[in-house]
């Protein structure tokens, strides 16, 4: 299935996610531009990635909620290595946490500024871009970045 790795029009190159019962809702929402995490119906804690159980109280009653607020870069890397034939480099990958959603950290790409401008603590907006295998991947947008 080498074709799965191949870059399509403007989509980033990579390896697509396998879908499970737990993760399919995330990727379906991503296609619609929404970043889903799991919220516990019992205690209100939020968990990511989705596993159908609250990481705080272990309740099995969880509901998906969309994270729309700004996030903050916890850490990052700028990848320079061409791991796959059509991979365009360099690009920044960020691990984003959300002040309004404690316990949630989401990895994604970064847009809206040159890769070398990324910093710990950078503010970002939730966003997505076309990724491998016809999925939309998290692609955060730098707030106030020079583009």
């Amino acid at each position: 299935m080498a074709g799965a790795h191949r870059s399509q029009t403007s989509a980033t190159t990579g390896i697509p996610p396998g879908m499970t019962d737990e993760t399919a809702p995330f990727w379906e929402a991503a296609a619609a531009g929404r970043l889903l995490v799991e919220r516990c119906s019992n205690c209100g804690a939020e968990s990511f990635p989705p596993r159908g159980i609250c990481r705080a109280c272990r309740s099995r009653q969880t509901v998906p909620v969309a994270v729309a607020e700004r996030g903050v870069v916890y850490s990052y890397t700028v990848n320079h290595q061409r791991w796959l034939p059509d991979l365009e480099v360099p690009y920044a990958i960020v691990l984003v946490e959300f002040p309004d959603h404690p316990g949630v950290r989401v990895p994604g790409r970064l847009r809206g500024c040159p890769p070398e401008d990324v910093t710990v603590g950078l503010e970002v907006e939730v966003g997505f871009e076309a990724g491998p295998g016809d999925v939309a991947i998290p692609s955060f947008v730098a707030v106030g970045g020079r583009s």
């Binding site: 390896i15 396998g18 850490s75 890397t77 320079h80 791991w83 796959l84 990895p107 790409r109």
Partner: protein
């Protein structure tokens, strides 16, 4: 030193170590490399193949996220050796150290002499692919935890570990000029190891001008894909009279106290601390008693974690500790990765290369890189999603 027999690891010894030829590309199948190492380890222990009644390998379950990762099938090895086994184990992340599961087996009487091996052909695989392949490249889709990483472009372990290094540098001020001393010093050690993959001198300037792979980690912060097999025999301590040169397991532990995930680990500036604390709680020895440290170095930053977690220096102090290279040199306070580590010795992986070197140092069989009179050697493995730490000791 006191040897409290109530600790299960004190009822086990590492009795044999064997390795195949090791290099960037060894023109020999993974199975033959495995047999080379296994037979050498049994011979090194002073045993015969008929003495072996337990087999274990890493990885278990046929797990192979990159080409060349998994070789030497356990059942094929048992069939080829024509032995009867009372205990077998395929290790996925390895119960934290290569000898952990085998020590449990011999300490509880499930086997007397266990062979465990790890065989890599990642050097050949990288060459055949025209470069180091993406992690997960053997599968069409990213599964499990990788499903959050590979689609967004974290396509190699270096992309997954790099944010730990970024965060560590942010929190504690480590500079690349300081970090350079780990690969540079280890290269000097590799120059004295005829089996190391890279032995030519490396300077801090070479490091700083090397190409970036995934910031802040450059080429020399990454271990070297290699071909080669490493095997150990782990024996019940009460068989010592039958063994050529056994080495003691003073203490070992493997604790995962954070989220076992390369992206979700809570505090990326601190890794391995719970494992090290649990290990030190099992021994009266202290960090100052350690004569050499074989600390996991899939990436240079992982050795930084372990220097601090093991208490060889304080949290945030590893940069100053390694700067200049004197403390971690062969004649320093804490000789580090005396075989070159995975950075120069080759990615033998999962603590196998590190353990082999520890055994050789404790026996006084480390040749030109011998730390004189080494009695206590620390070994650690991985750090984040899996972790193991041990002290091995000379018995003779």
């Amino acid at each position: 030193m006191s040897r409290q027999t109530e600790l299960f690891e004190r009822r086990a010894v590492i009795s044999g170590v064997g390795q195949s030829a090791i290099g960037r590309q060894i023109d020999r199948s993974g199975f033959q490399l495995t047999l080379d190492a296994v037979l050498a380890a049994v011979d090194d222990a002073g045993l015969t193949v008929d003495d072996i009644d337990g087999l274990a390998m890493f990885p278990g379950g046929g797990k192979a996220n990159v080409p060349g990762y998994a070789n030497g099938d356990l059942y094929e090895v048992q069939d080829a050796l024509r032995v009867t086994t009372t205990w077998r184990q395929g290790q996925v992340e390895g119960m934290s150290l290569p000898f952990y599961g085998p020590a449990q087996a011999v300490a509880t009487g499930q086997a007397r002499h266990v062979v465990i091996w790890r065989t890599v052909k990642e050097g050949s695989a990288a060459r055949n692919a025209g470069g180091r392949p993406a992690y997960g490249a053997t599968r069409p889709e990213a599964e499990g935890p990788l499903a959050w990483l590979l689609p967004v472009g974290m396509l190699s372990p270096v992309c997954q570990v790099a944010p730990f290094a970024t965060r560590y540098m942010h929190d504690y001020g480590l500079t690349r000029e300081q970090l350079a001393w780990i690969p540079v010093t280890q290269r000097a050690h590799a120059a004295r190891n005829p089996d190391a993959v890279y032995r030519s001198p490396l300077t801090v300037d070479d490091y700083l001008s090397a190409r970036m792979i995934s910031t802040p980690l450059c080429l020399y912060d990454c271990d070297v894909p290699a071909d080669g097999a490493t095997a150990f025999v782990v024996s019940a301590a009460d068989t010592a009279a039958d063994l050529r040169a056994p080495v003691g397991i003073e203490a070992m532990a493997g604790v995962i106290d954070g989220r076992p995930s390369w992206d979700q680990w809570e505090d990326m500036g601190r890794v391995g601390h719970a494992t090290a604390a649990a290990m030190w709680a099992r021994t009266d020895l202290r960090p100052g008693d350690v004569d050499a440290a074989q600390l996991y170095d899939g990436f240079s930053i992982e050795a930084v974690w372990w220097l601090e977690a093991m208490g060889f220096c304080g949290t945030g102090e590893a940069g100053a500790f390694v700067e200049g290279g004197k403390r971690i040199a062969l004649d320093g306070d804490l000789p580090l990765n005396t075989w070159g580590g995975q950075l120069s010795g080759g990615r033998l992986h999962a603590g196998f290369g590190h353990t082999a070197e520890a055994v050789r140092q404790l026996r006084g069989e480390a040749g030109d890189r011998q730390v004189p009179g080494a009695q206590v050697v620390a070994v650690t493995n991985v750090g984040g999603i899996e972790a193991g730490a041990a002290l091995l000791t000379a018995l003779r």
